[in-house]
């Protein structure tokens, strides 16, 4: 047991805690948007912790340094892709017509889309007029 | 030439199929010429293999990668495989020519690729000496068959393919479970070694495993009641493909079934499997014949007829005697010839007259005399009239099954054959004595030549069956005589 593996294990522990949190958020939040709020972030952070922690832990246990390199690659990939997939999902959810939770206070996006649609309609009518 | 060059049987269609995308731009007709050329080459290779095997009297063992079985996968090209690979290639060649007239649906390049791969799949199934490799080739065959069934892109074609996929998928999954069990208890996949070990496998495992293998193959081999996909697929597929289904795809399944069943003849529960197969085969004949009786669509009718003949073959293969297997193989040959002819002519009528409904066959004797003549010969042969080839094999099958104590089954089969006689008779009468609209259709020379060749073959075998019976006997022995099979495979000393 050295510092490296202790740090690593600690990270893994924190990571798993966030995994747990993420899943809990998935259960507790009232609608898909809020579920995403709570779970994407913690799942991503959890992954960082678990994956990089594993790398450190391994190196600490005497495995090759390549472990940490590879785990960082995986972690980076997760870090880069998770927000993108979260974004794509929430956009998809909104556009597929899932309504906001009834406790929601504002929807600027809906207004924006409506305005855009009206503009397009006007443009089309003008085009027809010519 | 080195016997290992028999691997060209697999390599040639593969590399040729892969080449097609590169010549896609040349257009449909060029691709069909290419297809014809390749199938002709394949027939050449197959003929060489056939000659080698039958002159030396020894099977060719192709050892892929140079590994001796069971470490590597071997192709066992014995008397049966050599013969059937040749049949596969020849039928494919004929059907490649037929494709000129009968397949106009695009994309031709994909058709050609699938066509070649169907040929490849059946060849591999027949040749392989490894049980998992058999699964792979079976999947090649069936997935190609799915694609070709749907090839016409009509709703019916897609429907037929869908049914084929669902049933074939279930069948192949359980087949794989069977392989899993048998591998799990033996640690090997080589058929010869499995045959050696068959007696020592845990009886429960082998009972379940063999049942599953048989179940999976029976779907491909169109045994009742697992054959519900077949009439639809036969009807919906492009005409040349239907002929190939009937002439060799189902045969490959039947062969595999017989091969596996006999390989495990020392296994526990073997007798039950055999009995079950006999019953299924008998029911296959019965159900298919009656289903054909009132068909208005001739192609579908012949499809049912084909299924019933397959049932007959299955019966012969599963009565459990050498004579039975030989008769079954003989019937396989005869059936391949006859059904190729029938689907060729019926398909040709479908293309030229605009459909395969019975009404399109009225007065065909005057509209397309050559086609009608060939179709008549095929129909008579299918019924089992003497001096036509099927007569001989049918007699042997009946005798062999009675000899093994299956007199009732033989009786049912014969009773069902009466029905077959009736519907073929209707067809013949419609063609020759039905009303004629006064139209004459120019018949294609190449197809006429093929049809006449097949007619002559039918009559030749019918009049003088000896050479073909000799072939069938050695091919049948190849399946039945397991100890010789084991001795022929150069197993290396991997074992406990």
């Amino acid at each position: 047991m050295n510092v490296l593996s202790a740090t690593g294990e600690a990270l893994v522990l924190i990571g798993t805690f966030f995994y747990f949190l993420s899943a809990l958020g998935l259960i507790r939040m009232p609608d898909v948007y809020n579920r995403m709020q709570t779970s994407t972030k913690s799942a991503t952070l959890g992954s960082l912790g678990v994956i990089i922690g594993t790398g450190l832990w391994a190196v600490g246990m005497g495995h090759s340094v390549a472990w940490i390199v590879q785990t960082v690659v995986v972690a980076t990939f997760i870090l880069l892709t998770n927000p993108i997939s979260a974004h794509a999902l929430i956009r998809g959810a909104y556009r597929s017509g899932i309504p906001l939770w009834n406790g929601s206070v504002v929807d600027k996006y809906g207004e924006h889309l409506k305005a855009k649609a009206e503009a397009a309609e006007n443009e089309k009518n003008e085009g027809d007029g010519e | 030439m080195n016997g290992q060059y028999a691997s060209l049987l697999v390599a040639l269609p593969l590399i040729s199929a892969f080449f097609v995308p590169l010549i896609k731009g040349l257009g449909g007709r060029a691709i069909k010429y290419y297809l014809t050329l390749i199938t002709a080459l394949q027939a050449g290779v197959a003929a060489w293999v056939f000659k080698t095997v039958y002159t030396t009297g020894k099977p060719i063992i192709v050892m892929a990668g140079g590994w001796r079985p069971p470490v590597g996968i071997d192709l066992y090209i014995g008397h049966f495989a050599a013969l059937f690979v040749l049949i596969v290639a020849l039928v494919s060649f004929f059907m490649a020519i037929f494709s000129f007239d009968s397949v106009s649906t695009e994309p031709t390049d994909k058709y050609a690729m699938l066509f070649l791969l169907l040929m490849l799949g059946a060849t591999g199934m027949i040749a392989t000496g490894d049980i998992f490799n058999l699964f792979v080739f079976m999947e090649i065959t069936s997935i190609t068959a799915y694609a070709l069934t749907a090839y016409n892109k009509t709703g019916e074609a897609a429907e037929a393919a869908m049914k084929y996929i669902v049933l074939g998928g279930i069948g192949s999954s359980f087949f794989l479970i069977g392989i899993t069990l048998i591998y799990g208890s033996t640690g090997t996949l080589n058929m010869a070694q499995l045959a050696q070990l068959a007696g020592s496998i845990n009886p429960t495992v082998i009972k379940v495993g063999l049942s599953l293998l048989v179940f999976g193959l029976a779907v491909e081999a169109e045994l009742f009641p697992l054959n519900a996909w077949a009439p639809d697929a036969y009807q919906a597929a492009p005409h040349p493909v239907t002929a190939m289904f009937s002439a060799f795809v189902v045969k490959a399944g039947l062969y595999a079934l017989a091969r596996l069943v006999y390989l495990f003849s020392h296994a526990a529960g073997w007798d039950f499997i055999l009995k079950l197969l006999v019953i299924m085969a008998t029911l296959t004949v019965f159900a298919a014949e009656f289903s054909a009786l009132r068909q208005r669509d001739v192609k579908r009718m012949i499809a049912y007829s084909s299924i019933s003949q397959v049932g007959l073959i299955a019966l012969a293969l599963s009565v459990g005697s050498q004579l039975g297997v030989q008769a079954g193989v003989f019937h396989m040959i005869n059936h391949a010839v006859v059904k190729t002819l029938l689907f060729l002519t019926v398909g040709y009528v479908g293309v030229k007259v605009g459909g395969t409904g019975i009404e399109n066959f009225s007065g065909l004797g005057r509209k397309m005399p050559l086609t009608a003549f060939a179709l008549t010969v095929g129909a008579l042969a299918a019924v089992g009239i003497p001096l036509f080839n099927i007569f001989w094999s049918k007699v042997w099958i009946i005798i062999a099954s009675i000899e093994q104590g299956y007199a009732w089954e033989a009786g049912v089969v014969l009773a069902a054959s009466v029905v077959e006689a009736v519907y073929y008779l209707r067809l013949i009468h419609t063609m020759w004595f039905g009303g004629w609209d006064g139209m004459r259709i120019r018949e294609s020379l190449p197809l006429g030549t093929i049809a006449l060749f097949l007619v002559l073959l039918i009559l030749a075998i019918g009049v003088y069956p000896n050479p073909f019976w000799t072939l069938a006997k050695s091919a049948g022995t190849d399946i039945f005589n397991v100890s010789r099979y084991i001795a022929n495979v150069p197993l290396m000393g991997v074992g406990p």
Binding site: L80 | I140, A150
Partner: protein
């Protein structure tokens, strides 16, 4: 009612079948060493094939015939899907463009995933990778571009011939084996010259495995992309 009956019947039937299968499986207890040919492979894989990964050695070398068949199966699927969904004039089915996030993200990830796919198939003899996962990864790269852009299409003119060429290459490698070592799919690189014998466990080893896996990787990548392409387009109706 019928449906309830049907469901109950199905459950009863499946329980019996399941029980039967379980009986069979009980004869092959989990976790026991029953290797026969497998043991031979493990003991000889390094010397005979130059590969560290026994699975890969089996897949590409010992049981190369299966893999050739497997490649063929995928080729059939791609051809079959292409044949079935073939249209004279076609167009993407997509109705909306991805956001700038997705578009930019996919563009940035694309080369990385390509590199990674290549890594997977080129290290097939060393790590649990190979042509199929590698090819699938490469196809994913194209898939992601598909997702992001409304009008993205794979370069057909390049992919279809490439698919054919890769397949031909595989068979040709096998045929070279037939010509050199008189066996089809004979590993002429390892068995004839022992090329890479000094490199066991490093990249340039494993006989013809990396070559074949490269071909397979390309083939699978192009094929899966082709399948996706076929499925995501529809006929243009005038």
């Amino acid at each position: 009612m019928v449906s309830v009956l049907k469901r109950s019947l199905a459950i009863i039937t499946l329980l019996i079948i399941g029980y039967w299968l379980a009986q069979g499986l009980a004869g092959v207890p989990f976790g026991q060493d029953r290797m026969l040919v497998g043991k031979y492979y493990l003991e000889n894989v390094k010397a005979q094939t130059g590969a560290v990964n026994a699975v890969t050695a089996i897949v590409v070398n010992y049981r190369g015939f299966d893999t050739l068949g497997e490649v063929t199966v995928l080729f059939i699927a791609s051809t079959g899907v292409g044949a079935l969904l073939w249209r004279r004039k076609k167009r993407r089915t997509a109705k909306t463009e991805g956001s700038v996030v997705l578009r930019t993200g996919s563009e940035l990830l694309f080369p990385f995933i390509l590199m990674f796919g290549t890594y997977i198939f080129i290290h097939g003899h060393l790590t649990p990778g190979g042509g199929f996962p590698g090819g699938a990864t490469i196809a994913t790269a194209f898939l992601i571009l598909y997702m992001a852009f409304v009008d993205y299409e794979i370069p057909h003119r390049l992919f279809e011939p490439l698919e054919g060429l890769a397949g031909m290459g595989y068979v040709l490698v096998g045929l070279i084996g037939l010509a050199i070592g008189s066996y089809f799919l004979f590993d002429w690189i390892w068995q004839t010259w022992h090329w890479g014998a000094a490199n066991l466990g490093r990249l340039f080893s494993g006989g013809f495995i990396p070559i074949i896996y490269t071909l397979i990787g390309l083939k699978v990548g192009t094929e899966l992309s082709g399948i996706v392409d076929s499925m995501l387009t529809e006929e243009v109706r005038e």
